[in-house]
Structure formats: C-alpha cells, structure tokens
Amino acid sequence: MIEAVGVELRFGEHAALAGVDTTVPDRGLTAIVGASGSGKSSLMHVLSGLRRPTAGEVRLDGTPLATHHVARLRSDRFAFAFQDHYLLMHLNAFENVLTAVAKPTRDVRERAAQLLDRLGLGTAASRSAWRLSGGERQRVAIARALVRSSAYFFADEPTAALDRASVELVYKLFREVAQTQAIVLVTHDPAALAVAHQVIELRDGVVVARP
C-alpha cells in the first residue's frame, strides 16, 4: 500500500500539491482525476517516487519511500506508461514490449505476445514502431508497462490517443490486472470512473473528493 501524508510539491512559488493525504491500496484501480493543472500528474509522480515531495511523506508498505532504493523500485515493483509512448523506433512492437525486462525469458516473451494480442496488436507485433499509428504506439507502451507484472502500475493519460474501441480493450485489460495489482491511472476520461475502484479528484493541488 502507498500512503501520502500531508504531501506538498512546490515549484518555486507555485504549489502543485498542497497537503495531500491519500492511500493507494495494493490491488485495484485508483483513478486520479481533475482539470488540467490540478496536480494529477504531480500526485502520480510523488506517489511513484519520480518526484520527492517538498513537504510531507510518501510511504510504501509503511516505510518512507525516500528510504527505498528508487532505481530498484522502478525496476522491480513499479511500472509506468505515459501520454508520450517513448517507444524505440528502431525496434518493432514486440521488441519494444520486451525492453521493460533486462533479460526476457520465454515466459516474458509469451506474456508480451499475449498482451499485444489482448490490446488488438497481434498482427502488428512484428511491425516497426515507426510504422505504427499513434494509438498503436500507445497500446504498445501499455503492454510494455504490464509485461513485468509489477506490483504498482502508474499510468498518466495512457488512453489519450486511443479510439473508443481501443480504450475498451485497455480498460478490460486494466480490470483484469487490477485483480492482482495496483493501478494508478491519471485520466480525463469519464469512462475510466466506471472501472475505478477508487477515485481521487484534485483541484488546485488539493484532494476534493475521495472514497
């Protein structure tokens, strides 16, 4: 479980987060919603250790996140997907998914193929990244994040570039994954609220609604 206690994040005079208290359970889908500039991405970055809070504390399983080896957390327990896909253009879709694992075993390769298939990319798996559409690239980035079966999956607007059918595929997969893992989803998409187990709504860096 991840806990945020009195978390503040300031960029100079601007407070991106102002005293946020919240928790992310170790299973289920947590949606962070709010208007643009409300601090959604900032909260995700702080919860995942990408940013250290200016004040307050984030704890992972009761231990301050700051005491953990951040690089090891990112390689072992956390996975990420962003609005920008960060695919390597010299690799194909399947290879891009495998980049999440240092030494992909046969099991990992099979899981990668299954994830691509589940996300509607079965026939595009061997296609170069530069030949994929924006939506396809986004789905490859999601598969890449999920291939490691990390305990916590942080996703920042991962469905922004997707059509409705693709979004449905992604949410269906998220629902399954959330049975065993925690997903923290930053989104503008109202449809995400239907699959979320909890919703954190932010306004000007402050939590205004939570379960």
């Binding site: 990408l50 690089a71 990112r74 690799l91 399947f94 992909p104 299954q114």
Partner: protein, 382 residues
C-alpha cells in the same frame, strides 16, 4: 506453446542499437575512419621513406668488415673458413658498386661477391630469397638484385648494368630478382675478380647475433693484427647517432601531425557524442523509468561510442592498408619505395587517437548525463 512474433530476444543489446541506427552511428565512425586512414597513411609513408633511404646499406648493420690488401684478405679467408661465426661472408670491391636509384636519387648500391656456391646461404642469412630468375652462376658476371632496386631503375631480368654511366665498368647481367627484409645484390666473386683485376677489397662477415659478432671481432683482432688488416663494425656510433637523430625528427613531426589530428578529431568526437546523446534522450528517459541508473546509462553510451570509434579505427587501418597497396602497385614500386604493410607503426600512432576520442566522448557524455534530469524531461514531454 504460443507462437511468438518475430523479434530480437535482447532488444536493448548494444549490437541491435548500433546495427539498426546506422545514421546515428555513421558520422562518428566516418570521422574516425577518415582520421585513422589519413594518419596511418602518413605514418606508413614516412616509415617507408626511412626504410627506403636506409635500404641500400641496411644489410651492413649486422656485419664486420675486414680491410686489407688482397693477400692479407686471402690469409684471413683461411682463418675464417673454420669459424662458424663467419659462415656468411662476401668480398666487396670498388668495381662492384652499381648505380641505384632510390627515392629518385642516384646512389651507390653494393654487390656482395660471394664465394663459389655461397649465393643461396648468403641470401638465406639475410632472410631473402630469389623472387624470380635464378642465382648468379659461378665464375660469371651475373648478378641478382632486389626487386625494389630493379623497380627504381626499371630493370628486368636479362638487362645489363655497369659500363658507361655506371659506377662499375663491368657489364653485369641481371639473372635474378631477390625479395626479403634486406636489400642485397649478389654476384660471383671469382667471376668479378677474373674480369676486374686488382684493387682494394674487403671481406664482409654477416653475423646478426651481437654477442657472437663481438666475440668474433675480438678473435679477429688477435689473429689478424693491424696494420696488415683492419677490422671494424660497419655501423660506427656516429652513424647510429645520425640515424637516431633522423628518427627523432620524424617522430617529432609525426607527433605534431598526430597532436593536431587528435585535437581536431576529439573536438569533432565530443560534438558528435553530444549530438548522439541528444538524439537518445527519449531512450534515456525510458531506461531511467525502468530503473537504470545514470552510471549504467553512461556505461551503455560510452560502450556504444567505443564500439563505433573502434570500428571506425579498424576500418581506417584496413582502408590505409588498401590505399597503400594500391599506391604501391601504381606509384611507389616504380620509384623503389618500400611500403611495409606489416609495419605496426600506424597502429601505434592511431590507437591513442581512437582512445583519446573515446575518452573525450566519455567526458562529454558524463557531463551531459550529470545535467540530465529524466523526470523533468518526462514532465516537459508529458
């Protein structure tokens, strides 16, 4: 078992990154290749000019020379006959110097006059062999000359050297062309002596082993006392000093060329390393998110640069060898210039260059990575 899509099992491997991004790696590889090619070619050429300049007399470095009147030398021959340290010896006489053309300049080129039946062993002693034609026949005015020497004067088998305009009045027919590490010409001692009359002569004894040669020198001085004969090492200390000074000047010149090239190449290498880094920021953000430390990113980047520069360097050396081979065939062989393609000097001069380029690239990459904040970039890109 699920049928897997096509793809590399280790997509983040260095070789896939290098192999599939030729446009990213080519500039640095080409710069290294061209610099290595240029410097290696200059070094080979400079070394070749030295070797060529020294070639006509280089074989004498391993020798002792006994001078005296013919009768005294004949007595010395009796003594030398039973000394294994003097097994390879030849007579030198004033009429056995022929005109050579080395580096477009006329020069004296000695013909070793070997005793009957001694041609093959003399050649073998110098590590040389008959490349085409045959050894001179006993008692004739036939000679075998080095291929390079013949090339310098456009001579072929069957041509006659000597006579008017040459340094010997004897007409010597070329019956063999020799090749090997030392340039030597050999003729029949009995043949030349029969045709050439008297005159001061000398015995050249070849002995490459320094200790054996010094011991022989001491024996000869005891057995053949002055003034009937004199014994000397052919290469006096002054010559060695001159040669050393010559080489020092050349080393200084090459060092300067290398220094200028190193400065230019490392500046370009540093710039390219920076561009290389900039082109890969998305990849570095991704790898940081996967938990790669900056140190591992630096190792990966510098490793790739080392492979690129190393490949460029090796390709440059190979290109220089190819280039020099072509030049040798088309130009140098006709001017008696020796191109030694097995000369390791180009490697010694260009390897530090490649190393320096990698070092500068590593520093540039290190600075760029130290300033690189993947999370800030991530937030900026979304």
């Amino acid at each position: 078992m699920t049928e897997l899509p096509r793809g590399a099992s280790r997509p983040l491997s260095l070789w896939i990154s290098l192999g599939r991004n030729p446009m990213r790696t080519m500039p640095m590889m080409l710069v290294t290749l061209i610099a290595s090619l240029g410097i290696a070619s200059i070094v080979v050429l400079a070394d070749s000019l030295i070797r060529t300049a020294l070639a006509p007399n280089d074989f004498l470095k391993d020798g002792l020379v006994i001078r005296g009147d013919p009768a005294a030398l004949d007595n010395a021959e009796v003594f030398l006959r039973d000394d294994p340290a003097a097994a390879t010896r030849a007579r030198l006489g004033p009429q056995t110097f022929i005109r050579g053309r080395i580096l477009q300049l006329d020069s004296y080129f000695p013909v070793l006059l070997v005793p009957d039946g001694g041609g093959a062993s003399t050649l073998a002693r110098y590590g040389d062999r008959i490349d085409s034609g045959r050894l001179p026949a006993t008692g004739t005015l036939e000679i075998a000359v080095p291929v390079g020497f013949a090339g310098g004067r456009s001579l072929r088998l069957g041509d006659i050297v000597g006579g008017p305009g040459d340094y010997t009045p004897l007409p010597l027919r070329i019956v063999g062309l020799t090749s090997g590490p030392k340039w030597i010409a050999i003729g029949s001692a009995t043949g030349v002596r029969a045709a050439g009359g008297g005159g001061p002569e000398a015995i050249l004894i070849t002995q490459t082993d320094t200790a054996t040669r010094d011991a022989l020198d001491r024996r000869l001085r005891v057995r053949l006392p002055a003034p009937a004969v004199t014994v000397q090492h052919w290469t006096p200390p002054g010559d060695a000093a001159d040669a050393g000074s010559y080489e020092d000047d050349l080393t200084l010149m090459l060092g300067f060329i290398m220094g200028v090239n190193a400065a230019v190449l490392s500046s370009i290498g540093g710039l390219l390393a920076f561009l290389y880094f900039r082109q890969r920021q998305a990849e570095f953000i991704l790898l940081s998110i996967f938990g790669r430390t900056k140190w591992s990113l630096a190792q990966r980047t510098v490793g790739e640069i080392a492979v690129v520069v190393g490949t460029g360097w090796l390709a440059g050396i190979a290109a220089a060898i190819l280039f020099m081979t072509i030049l040798q065939e088309l130009v140098f062989s006709k001017r008696a210039i020796i191109i030694d393609l097995s000369d390791p000097a180009p490697i010694f001069y260009t390897f530090p260059l490649a190393l320096f380029t990698v070092a500068v690239s590593a520093v540039v990459t290190g600075i760029a990575l130290a300033r690189f904040d993947p999370i800030a970039r991530l937030q900026a890109r979304g």
